[in-house]
Amino acid sequence: MKRVIRFNLNGEDIEAYAPENMTILDFLRKEMHLTGTKRGCEEGECGACTIMLDGKPIAACLMLAVEADGHSVVTIEGIMRGGRLHPVQQEFIDKWALQCGFCTPGMILSAIALLEHNPQPSEYEIRDAIAGNLCRCTGYAKIVEAIASAAEVLRKGA
C-alpha cells in the first residue's frame, strides 16, 4: 500500500506517495530520481547510502520511506551553498580524496554531520565519524586530510 508522506527534502517541503515497504534509499533514487545517494551493501555495513535525517547521519538503506514523514532529509544533492560546492566537497576534490567516487557522497555527509557539531575534530574523531563508511580505493588517508582541511576552511568562515 502507498501512503502520503510530507517531509523536507534538501530544504524544500514535499508531499509524495511512498510504498510502505520501500526504504528511503530506494524512494530517493527511484521516486525522487536523486541518485547521488549510493546503493551499496543495503544492510547498514558500508555507508554508501548515508544521508542526514534531522541533521544526523543515518544509513538510508535501514530506514523506511514512510518513517521520513514529518522530518527533514538532506542528501548529497542538497549541500551546495549559493551555487558553490560545500567546502567539504571542494576539499575532497583539492586533496584527491576520491577515486571511483562511490563512497564519496556518504563520506561527505558523514563529514558534514561531524563538522556541524564538532568544528575542530581530532584525527581520531574524524576516523571515528567515518568508521561506518567503507572506501575500497583511497586507503582513507586523503579522506581524513580533506575533512581536516575542510574543518579549517569552515572555521575561517568560508
Binding site: E20, T23, E43, G44, P57, E67, G132
Partner: protein
C-alpha cells in the same frame, strides 16, 4: 534488495502498540530504530504482516539520571544519544563506551539500546555491561500492568528473550555507581567499527580498600547468550586484590564459557580471549572507581 510486503502501523500510545503486538502475534514485529529489523526483512528471515512502529509514542525518549534511581533509558533513546550524553559519560562511562562500540555512527543515530537487547544477539554490545550493572527492564503488556525483568532473566537463547507475546520493553533502568564501585566493558573484534564482537567482557566491582567487597563479570559473544561468570566472581569476592588472584579468576571465567566456533574465531581462541579480556576489563574497572 526489496522489502517483503507488510502493513506499516505507527502506534500512538504504548497501550495501542502492546495491543497490536498481542493481536498480531507472530505476524507482528515491533520496531524502534529499525536497524536490526530491516536487514531481517530484506533477507526474508522474518516475514511479518505488520510492522508496529513505536516512534509515534510519546514519552519513550528519556535519558534521565539521578543518584538515587540511576539512569533511565527509553525504548526510543538512540545509542548515539547515550554515547554522546555528558551525564552518561561522566556517571556511567562504561555504559557510554558500550553504546559507542555498536556498529557505526549511522546505525547508532537510529538504533536503540532497548532494540539492541531485544534483538538478543549473543554478541550484543550493550548486554554485558547491563548485566553487570544489575540493570532491569520495565515492560508494558496488553491488558496488564507490565513488569520489571532483571537483565539476568531476560535472555533465553540466540535471538530469544523472555518477553511474552504482546509484551514490550518501555525502558531500561541502570543503577548508579556508588562510592568505591567501578565498571568497564571491553569488546574484542578484528575491526574497530561495524564488526561483531569475537568476545566482549564487562566487569562491575565494589572495593573496600584493597579488598574486593563484591564483583560481577559478564561475557558476551562466547555462548548463545551473554552470561555471568559466577565461579570467577566467587573466587574474587571477599579477597584482597592482587595480580595472581585476578589471573586465576580470569582463567576460571574462560573455563566457564561454552564458546562456539564460527567464521570470526575458533572456540579455543574465544576461550583464551575471555581470560585476557576479563582481566583487562577488571583492571579498567579498578581504575574507574567512583570516589
Amino acid at each position: 534488495m526489496s522489502l517483503p510486503k507488510f502493513e506499516y502501523i505507527k502506534a500512538q500510545t504504548i497501550g495501542e502498540a502492546a495491543a497490536l503486538a498481542a493481536e498480531t502475534g507472530d505476524k507482528g514485529m515491533v520496531m524502534a530504530g529499525g536497524t536490526d529489523i530491516i536487514p531481517l526483512l530484506k533477507d526474508r528471515v522474518k516475514l511479518p504482516g505488520y510492522i508496529i512502529d513505536l516512534k509515534g509514542v510519546p514519552g519513550l525518549r528519556q535519558l534521565e539520571y539521578t543518584e538515587e534511581s540511576g539512569l533511565k533509558v527509553g525504548a526510543l533513546t538512540t545509542l548515539r544519544e547515550i554515547e554522546t550524553s555528558a551525564v552518561v559519560k561522566s556517571k556511567l562511562p562504561a555504559v557510554a563506551a558500550a553504546a559507542h562500540y555498536v556498529a557505526s555512527t549511522q546505525v547508532r543515530c537510529r538504533g536503540t539500546m532497548v532494540g539492541n537487547i531485544c534483538n538478543a544477539s549473543p554478541s550484543a554490545d550493550t548486554a554485558c555491561i547491563l548485566l553487570v550493572m544489575n540493570a532491569a527492564v520495565q515492560t508494558a503488556q496488553a491488558g496488564g500492568a507490565g513488569r520489571v525483568i532483571p537483565l539476568s532473566g531476560f535472555f533465553k537463547g540466540v535471538k530469544q528473550t523472555t518477553l511474552e507475546p504482546g509484551e514490550l520493553v518501555t525502558e531500561i533502568n541502570i543503577p548508579a555507581l556508588k562510592s568505591g564501585e567501578g565498571s568497564a566493558y571491553f569488546k574484542f573484534a578484528v575491526r574497530k567499527a561495524m564488526d561483531l564482537a569475537i568476545i566482549g567482557a564487562a566487569v562491575w566491582v565494589k572495593m573496600d580498600g584493597g579488598r574486593i567487597a563484591d564483583c560481577r563479570i559478564a561475557v558476551g559473544g562466547a555462548n548463545t547468550t551473554p552470561f555471568r561468570a559466577a565461579a570467577a566472581e566467587k573466587q574474587l569476592i571477599g579477597r584482597e586484590y592482587g595480580e595472581s588472584l585476578l589471573a586465576e579468576a580470569a582463567a576460571t571465567a574462560s573455563k566457564e564459557c561454552r564458546a562456539i566456533s564460527d567464521v570470526r574465531a575458533s572456540a579455543e581462541y574465544r576461550v583464551d580471549m575471555v581470560r585476557v579480556f576479563t582481566k583487562r576489563a577488571f583492571k579498567e574497572a579498578l581504575g574507574n572507581l567512583k570516589a
